[in-house]
Symmetry: C2
């Protein structure tokens, strides 16, 4: 009964977790977004085995989250650069970070703060309604299965 993947789930959350839900993967994306590009750079920041890191990087390259680029000829050396598609995971990272800051923090406060490059202000991730343009609280989100007309399920 226990499947090892989310393949059977027709759901964009499950599909996304197929790409970035494996242990360490989102932390690799986090570090790539912070400017880490080289294998040894990731290895220095994450306490994982080389073969696991290799495997996760290959998955991210295969899905176009990272580009693998040769930066040196002899010997050949490659680095990993976050693509535009990969960078669009930043709201996922910041919403995970905001939840952790709020609920899993310690007395020393948030370990890392996200700021707007242009003005240095703190960044909020939030939900708004494209129609009424109002802010949307978590309890005000409903979901609808778009492929079954008229079928409405409350919340997310």
């Amino acid at each position: 009964m226990l499947r090892r993947t989310y393949d059977g789930q027709t759901c964009s959350i499950a599909r996304t977790l197929e790409v970035v839900g494996e242990r360490w993967t989102l932390l690799i994306v986090r570090d790539a977004a912070r400017g880490v590009t080289r294998f040894d750079g990731f290895l220095a920041r994450l306490p994982i085995a080389r073969n696991v890191l290799s495997d996760r990087l290959a998955t991210l390259v295969r899905h176009g989250v990272l580009d693998r680029v040769q930066y040196q000829d002899r010997p050949p050396r490659h680095e990993y650069r976050l693509t535009a598609k990969g960078r669009e995971l930043v709201p996922v990272l910041l919403s995970l970070m905001a939840w952790g800051d709020r609920h899993l923090g310690d007395d020393a406060g948030p370990p890392v703060v996200a700021e707007h490059a242009e003005c240095g202000g703190p960044i909020d991730v939030h939900m708004t309604c494209r129609q009424c343009e109002g802010a949307v609280a978590p309890a005000e989100v409903v979901t609808r299965e778009a492929r079954r007309v008229g079928h409405v399920t409350r919340d997310v």
Copy 2:
């Protein structure tokens, strides 16, 4: 070398993944947010073994994401209700969903749409700056390690 947890990471993303990063956990939170409350209800929607589901539910209860509430005396039966803390994971779910809709979709369009309960409009997850109040693109996010004064790292 390979650790099984993210414990050594002083990072709110890693801490959050300690709670919700295990395989299936975010999909359980997704279904709880959609109104599923009973063990068999989760089991019917997720192709996982009973013992794995038990284990994940227990973790979520321990961390205050779900409340375990007795709803029947004889025999005793319990249900699982998303707490306010758990509901604050909705932006995480919606940002994962938005990325999947955009990058992993098929021709049939998004399987599920998130709407504002009040007006039925579509919901966007986005980033804004609390200082200049402008919209913030992923490439405009910088992070700073808050515990090392003056140390700035570009991006997320």
